[in-house]
């Protein structure tokens, strides 16, 4: 016969202070784990949410990303008029020629970091429908005007609407603030292509962003571009291009796993401690239960269950604590492009489930030995003593 679960809840509420302290301890542990997972997930999602399956990024052969890619401007015309490139209502090919450069700017907190500037044009905006202006207006070519993402403008100096940014002693005015649904372009400053090319004295393109007519033509279009000996370019799927950049979170992932493992072990000891205390304090109850016919395995199960309930309650508390970090904005180095990527922590239901699973595992492992001790208690001795 099973011991009713009510018994466990009663026992937990009986030792209120001990239960609460253990719960809080587990809760904080789970909160750390969940926040770290939310951080890694947020960083990864910045990249995995970016990109369109129909889009190709054309870069120089041998380059791994736009930042170290460059090629002559006449190649633009060749790529533009390739078959299978989608066209707009005016029969204009949907291809944007862009230039990327990186500047070193000061954060609001004082230290400096690298930020990407993308020189683009109206076509670049059309190919990024996720972009929307939240303040100010679109930049105008020839006036050294830039648009800054909302996240960047909250992180760096002189990037608010109406500010003047100094890049290499030249003044650029911030005329617009945009957002792009948390995608990678939110880590960039956008400026008119011509202005950037002129300012950096580099009449080149770093990349071309193009839209294919349909998913079916993509392989042949990619082949056509990379096989063309005249141009020495390669076309990468925009989706895959961004997915490859999730390596940015590798170090963080390793650190998160390391921390989770160690605090998990620490929590197991804590639960074990608490449960041994409970078992010893309740040895008369346990012996009585044995005497009235409950079996050893019922006792074992009941105490493991109690530890699991305790840990899960802690887990729920931890998830609640961690959820207040949802949307927290942070930045880190994207070593692929050598510049800062800004991301938001994302506490998703899946991550909370992982946190609860973590708590459950800790509870079961930590509860097992004390539960076995309870089950093996020799009832004669207990009842006599």
């Amino acid at each position: 016969m099973k011991i009713p679960i009510k018994y466990n809840f009663r026992s937990l509420t009986n030792r209120r202070v001990g239960t609460l302290m253990t719960m809080l301890g587990i809760g904080l542990t789970v909160a750390i784990v969940v926040v770290m997972l939310a951080m890694v997930h947020g960083l990864d999602a910045t990249f995995t949410d970016s990109g369109d399956e129909l889009h190709l990024i054309v870069i120089r052969q041998g380059s791994q990303n736009e930042v170290n890619s460059y090629f002559n401007r006449d190649l633009y015309e060749i790529v533009r008029f390739l078959p299978d490139v989608a066209r707009d209502e005016n029969n204009q090919p949907l291809v944007a020629g862009e230039i990327i450069t990186v500047i070193n700017q000061q954060r609001l907190t004082g230290e400096t970091s690298n930020v990407t500037i993308r020189g683009t044009d109206e076509m670049g905006f059309r190919l990024r429908p996720e972009l929307s202006i939240v303040q100010g207006r679109m930049f105008q070519p020839g006036l050294r005007e830039v648009m800054v993402s909302e996240t960047l403008s909250n992180r760096f100096q002189d990037m608010r609407l109406g500010d003047t940014m100094r890049i290499d002693e030249r003044a650029w005015s911030v005329v617009g603030i945009f957002e792009a649904g948390g995608t990678a372009v939110e880590s960039e400053i956008l400026a008119p292509y011509e202005d950037v090319a002129q300012e950096w004295n580099r009449p080149i393109y770093s990349s071309l962003l193009l839209r294919a007519e349909s998913l079916e033509v993509i392989p042949s279009l990619q082949e056509r571009i990379s096989d063309d000996q005249r141009i020495q370019l390669q076309a990468v799927s925009q989706k895959k291009y961004f997915e490859d950049q999730t390596v940015a979170s590798t170090g963080l992932k390793a650190l998160a796993v390391f921390i989770a493992l160690i605090i998990g072990i620490g929590s197991c000891f804590a639960i074990m401690n608490m449960m041994y205390g409970t078992v010893m304090a309740r040895r008369h109850e346990i012996a009585t239960m044995r005497a009235i016919g409950f079996r050893r395995r019922n006792i074992l199960g009941s105490f493991v269950l109690e530890a699991a309930i305790l840990a899960l309650l802690g887990g729920v508390l931890g998830c609640l604590l961690a959820s207040s970090f949802h949307g927290f904005s942070a930045g880190t180095a994207n070593w692929a492009t050598f510049s800062e990527v800004v991301y938001k922590f994302r506490v998703t239901p899946q991550i909370m489930m992982q946190g609860l699973l973590f708590a459950l595992i800790v509870g079961i492992i930590g509860g097992f030995l004390p539960a076995r001790r309870a089950a093996r208690m020799r009832l004669i001795e207990v009842l006599r003593g």
């Binding site: 202070v17 001990g18 302290m21 253990t22 809080l24 301890g25 904080l28 542990t29 909160a31 750390i32 120089r60 052969q61 041998g62 380059s63 791994q64 930042v67 170290n68 450069t101 990186v102 500047i103 070193n104 954060r107 907190t109 230290e111 400096t112 970091s113 690298n114 890049i167 290499d168 950096w200 590798t250 170090g251 390793a254 921390i259 160690i262 605090i263 072990i265 620490g266 929590s267 000891f269 804590a270 074990m272 401690n273 608490m274 041994y276 205390g277 942070a330 930045g331 880190t332 180095a333 050598f338 800062e340």
Partner: protein, 381 residues
């Protein structure tokens, strides 16, 4: 002193509980010590007499903008400059991108002049300088891939369409990067680049730390109106610039450390509360024998500190022992070379143990010691 035996007996009274609490604290402090060491290493790169003499010049806008090799001649003529070499980040891939390590092309002739803290046998220096396709690698890097002098190392260009085939001519230990990078001839690289003549940074050795600021100032003002204006900073500032890019490491690590410390306070407090509750009759006996409340409280506090401190030291010492033995370069993909727990960190961990002990026993010992003696004696566990 007369209480020592009493205290030890009390700590060991419930061995299992003591062991579990200590293990829990030890495991947490192992983590705390590791994280604090990592933080210390990142935000406080070791300053050696040699690194205090070095400056690094880069393009003013960012490391992405290259500077012409003609800057080198001008820099070498500045007063206070003893030697300088240009280098270019190559970012080549060795077999697989996951084998990441730093690799640069450098102007070889003054390379060892500037990096006098690299320990290299003279004949190997010579061999590297004289072989245009030669390479010099750090000892921890060579160990990571099992390289020996004379081995052929094939790098695949990732940023540049050039795949150098190098012969390992020298292995150094020490240096600013603790033996973790590979360097090969800039001349060979430049040839592969069709003589583009591009350089990322100049590393400069000055004659004394006193002239350092003036040299940096002179270089930057001299090149201000050139095609590539520069920014010259100390090697330390340059390294910290990379750490800054990682984001707010300090906040990240200190928040995790604080939360972990708070959880061990909870664990220890729970233990002490349980332990004191079980011994409430003994408190009565002690007081009946004439112990004052403050003495009873002090006994519990010392007991708690003993428990927490030994757990904390166990964890910190484990980190001190284990971390240096690990091949951190391989574990962290070349990001951290080695982690060694310093004495200040050990002391800090001891301080944490002490504080945890005091806080944990604070309330339960206070309330137990205040309880009237008769009530204590009447209580049953």
């Amino acid at each position: 002193m007369k209480f020592v035996r009493f205290l030890v007996k009390n700590v060991l009274r419930n061995k299992r509980r003591t062991l579990l609490t200590m293990s829990s604290i030890a495991v947490s402090l192992f983590l705390v010590a590791t994280l604090l060491t990592l933080l210390d290493q990142l935000t406080n790169p070791p300053e050696t007499p040699d690194s205090a003499l070095r400056l690094i010049t880069r393009h003013r806008i960012s490391l992405f903008n290259v500077i012409p090799m003609s800057h080198g001649e001008k820099i070498r003529e500045v007063e206070g400059v003893e030697a300088a070499y240009g280098s270019m980040w190559f970012g080549g891939v060795y077999k697989d991108p996951s084998n990441f390590f730093a690799n640069f092309s450098v102007e070889a002739d003054q390379f060892f002049e500037v990096n006098r803290d690299m320990i290299v046998p003279e004949d190997q220096k010579e061999a590297f300088i004289n072989d245009r396709t030669g390479a010099v690698a750090g000892d921890s890097l060579a160990e990571r891939f099992g390289w020996e002098i004379g081995d052929i190392i094939h790098l695949e260009g990732a940023l540049f369409s050039f795949d150098p085939e190098l012969t390992l001519r020298a292995i150094y230990s020490g240096g600013a990067d603790d033996g973790s990078s590979l360097f090969f001839h800039w001349d060979y690289f430049d040839e592969g680049m069709n003589r583009a003549g591009i350089i990322g940074t100049y590393t400069i050795r000055t004659s004394s730390p006193e002239v350092l600021p003036a040299v940096a100032e002179t270089i930057d003002s001299m090149l201000r109106s050139s095609t590539a204006p520069t920014k010259t900073e100390t090697e330390r500032e340059f390294i910290l610039g990379f750490v800054n890019m990682l984001g707010n490491v300090q906040l990240f690590i200190t928040s995790i450390v604080s939360v972990v410390i708070f959880t061990i306070v909870l664990v220890a407090a729970n233990t002490m509360a349980m332990s004191i509750r079980e011994r409430i009759r003994e408190v009565g006996i002690l007081k009946a024998l004439g112990f004052r409340s403050s003495q009873v409280m002090a006994l519990f506090l010392v007991e708690s500190v003993l428990l927490a401190l030994s757990g904390a030291m166990l964890g910190a010492l484990a980190a001190w022992l284990v971390l240096p033995a690990l091949n951190m370069a391989a574990i962290s993909g070349g990001f951290v070379q080695r982690l060694a727990v310093t004495t200040p960190t050990l002391l800090l961990c001891a301080g944490i143990g002490l504080a945890v002990g005091v806080i944990a026993a604070g309330y339960p010992s206070w309330s137990a010691s205040r309880r009237p003696t008769v009530q204590c004696l009447r209580m049953t566990a």
